[in-house]
Symmetry: C2
Subunit: 439 residues, 2 copies
């Protein structure tokens, strides 16, 4: 399966950068883990000589692999476990009791199932927070995709719990940072301001600086959560963290639904990154995040699917459509979050949000070869629009992805996986949830 | 391709009725155009003897073909033509100038492209309003699916235009009602209260009674439209139509975004049907229809995708997810529009909305065999949830449909079309829009 170099010929190359999304017809050469040459078709002098693998890119859109900036991949086991419930009932009677039976093996299986789903729908990088993360790292290592992993740290003010959480997250950092030829990065994962104490949050800041890793946290997802912090700290959540000295440019905050204008100023000032999760926010009735306003203030916003239990899939194409359409209807402005901006969120801005934008998020020479090919000759993408982003955001879904390449390795070609065994993983996942429900 | 009888064995049968959605494992026998026998697997005595075609339904969900209650299928040519624009600019500078070049041949091509898309994403019945509808009827006849067709009647008060519109729509009724072994039904299609005069609307009511066909109209899609009627008639749109004697149980009103409580009472009293189009309403920033409230008043609501120019696809699975999630977030109630209710909207309620519920919309003996099979062994539907509707509404997309049967004929099996030529139609559609743009 090891291919040293890959040439993709004659595809429509879609390249998002921080200012715009450009597109042109061209050839792209991969060597080892990197893009080493890009040329417009008419000007291309890339030779097929000595190339081990040539992919015909005709009628295919070549773009950066999508970046899912907030999820809990092992929760793929909990897809459809319970829906249409108030948050309390959902958590207390369904999610938490089932989570109590989790172990490393189950989390590994859930992770594999999510990794197959992501590869098949064009995601090549994801940002995860959950439990048994060393088992998740093992799955990510095997899968070939890129993951940022953090342990979900919850202490509710209990010192023993807190110590244990730090042990877990620090072990993850020590054992897994840089695994999988550098595809795995580790973060600290303080769960939220309402579940992690002030002591935990302050120490996370200290340890993150020490270990030089980022911080992944849930922020202001529900109104209740904000009210809880306001009662406890007499401040809004981002103000509270600002006063703790917690906020820096290495923090990625998931959700950010209930955020005041003053908090947006703090977010901008500290260059905190936001992961927007529209499906989850809609399905759990959390609310509508003011993304258009954040973007107008030049806050860096990526897109996340959240876990499969609250979405209920990991399809970043679908998530892009939800993101754009939700901003349009909530602002009553059809120009809000246009298709190019949405593509930027799911690629280059997602990369920036994870401090990976020097490596991934766009189609540039010397960047990692994290690339997907979309079959433009699909009926739901017909006719081919002049503005490539339009069909991708408004008409496509993950099944339009034909080929997924990460770190220079082909993980799927013509919709067939090359590393993971899809059927075996589907069977394992179905057995795992049956066992978990019987515990 | 003519198969007299088809046996589908061992599938998970999902059967929506007006009260609930039931599911059980069973066998289903089709003869000619009808379902003639349904049996639970353990009690099944359906023999394979004399059966021409046996389909293995193991690990497949069998459900009614989806019913798209509002669309403009020839507009598939305009997918991605222009997006992210204010409604006026979109219509005046892009849609209308391109529509001006339309002819029967282009509308036929656009329709074929949409028919392929619908068959591939599990829709077996749609409700259409547009131009050159006899050409659309020809495409529907060839395709094998079921369509309700109306001519979009616009007079802006001009008598000559009005006469012409009646001629067009009445010709459609005379020439096409009952075509395609009864798969084609015709409706009157007065465009909207803001584009069709009082004279036109009154005569439509009269002619619809005379020809015994239904009426398909856009209603209260935007706030502007409601304001226009209120200025002209000093009444809200549904009150205006009520006073004209226009509203009966044969009227299907698309959108219904800006509807007052008093109007809902009228809708209920006259048993007017609503087609909810969440993607279009969100993408064009029209607003959020109060669907949860309508349903609580027992108003019959179906789901529609609207045309591909304002969605931009015809995937009813995606539309179901948008419908449910939009109600949840707009009411801040996670219990709003649960997955069973959403499935009902897209099947049995859609059938009722088109006055076809005696023939289609559920899995019952003696109903037409309009059936789709969904591959439950897909990674995005893993694990298989106890509540079948959950995975279908929240996790699936159209690509999970494996087999589409309409009127007892297999139109797609294992994702391969049996009647329409997908590649040829894709090529034709790409050429058609290129030509139209150059006119």
């Amino acid at each position: 399966m090891e291919t040293k170099n890959i040439l993709i010929k004659n595809s429509i190359i879609l390249n998002p950068n921080e200012n715009t999304v450009e597109s042109f017809k061209g050839d792209l050469l991969i060597e080892n883990d990197k893009i080493i040459e890009i040329a417009k078709t008419n000007q291309s002098s890339i030779s097929t000589k000595g190339i081990e693998k040539v992919i015909d890119g005709e009628n295919k859109i070549l773009m950066p692999g999508l970046i899912n900036t907030h999820t809990h991949i092992s929760m793929n086991l909990f897809r459809g476990l319970a829906d249409d419930l108030a948050l309390d009932e959902w958590l207390n009677n369904h999610i938490w009791p089932t989570e109590a039976g989790l172990n490393g093996e189950y989390c590994y299986t859930g992770a594999l199932s999510a990794l197959v789903e992501m590869i098949k729908s064009g995601t090549t990088t994801f940002n995860d927070m959950y439990f048994f993360m060393e088992d998740v790292a093992k799955a990510v290592d095997e899968s070939g995709i890129r993951g940022c992993l953090s342990h979900g740290m919850i202490d509710f003010g209990d010192q023993e719990k807190r110590e244990n959480e730090f042990k877990e997250n620090i072990n993850l950092i020590k054992n897994c940072n840089g695994m999988g030829e550098g595809r795995i990065k580790t973060f600290f994962g303080p769960h939220a301001t309402s579940t992690a104490s002030k002591d935990l949050l302050e120490r996370v800041r200290h340890e993150a600086d020490k270990y030089k890793v980022g911080i992944h946290i849930h922020m202001s997802e529900t109104k209740n959560e904000v009210n809880t912090i306001m009662e406890q700290a007499k401040k809004r959540p981002f103000e509270y963290l600002e006063d703790l000295g917690f906020l820096k440019d290495d923090v990625i905050a998931a959700h950010g639904v209930w955020v005041s204008k003053e908090e947006m100023d703090i977010i901008k000032k500290r260059d905190v990154k936001i992961s927007h999760n529209p499906c989850s926010n809609m399905k759990l009735s959390s609310g509508i995040a003011p993304i258009q306003e954040m973007i107008s203030k030049s806050i860096c916003v990526g897109i996340g699917t959240d876990g499969a239990a609250s979405n209920n899939n990991l399809d970043m194409f679908e998530e892009m459509k939800f993101a754009s359409l939700l901003q349009k209807v909530s602002t009553l402005n059809p120009q809000a979050l246009n298709s190019n901006q949405t593509i930027q969120m799911a690629t280059i801005n997602g990369a920036k949000a994870l401090n990976l934008n020097k490596e991934i998020g766009s189609i540039e020479e010397n960047k990692k070869a994290d690339i997907i090919l979309i079959d433009a000759n699909s009926i739901n993408l017909t006719p081919i629009s002049d503005l490539i982003s339009s069909n991708l955001v408004y008409a496509a879904n993950g099944s339009n992805v034909n080929t997924t390449i990460c770190n220079g390795k082909i993980l799927m070609e013509n919709r067939k996986l090359s590393i993971l065994d899809e059927n075996k993983i589907i069977k394992k996942a179905n057995i795992a949830i049956k066992e978990l429900k019987q515990l």
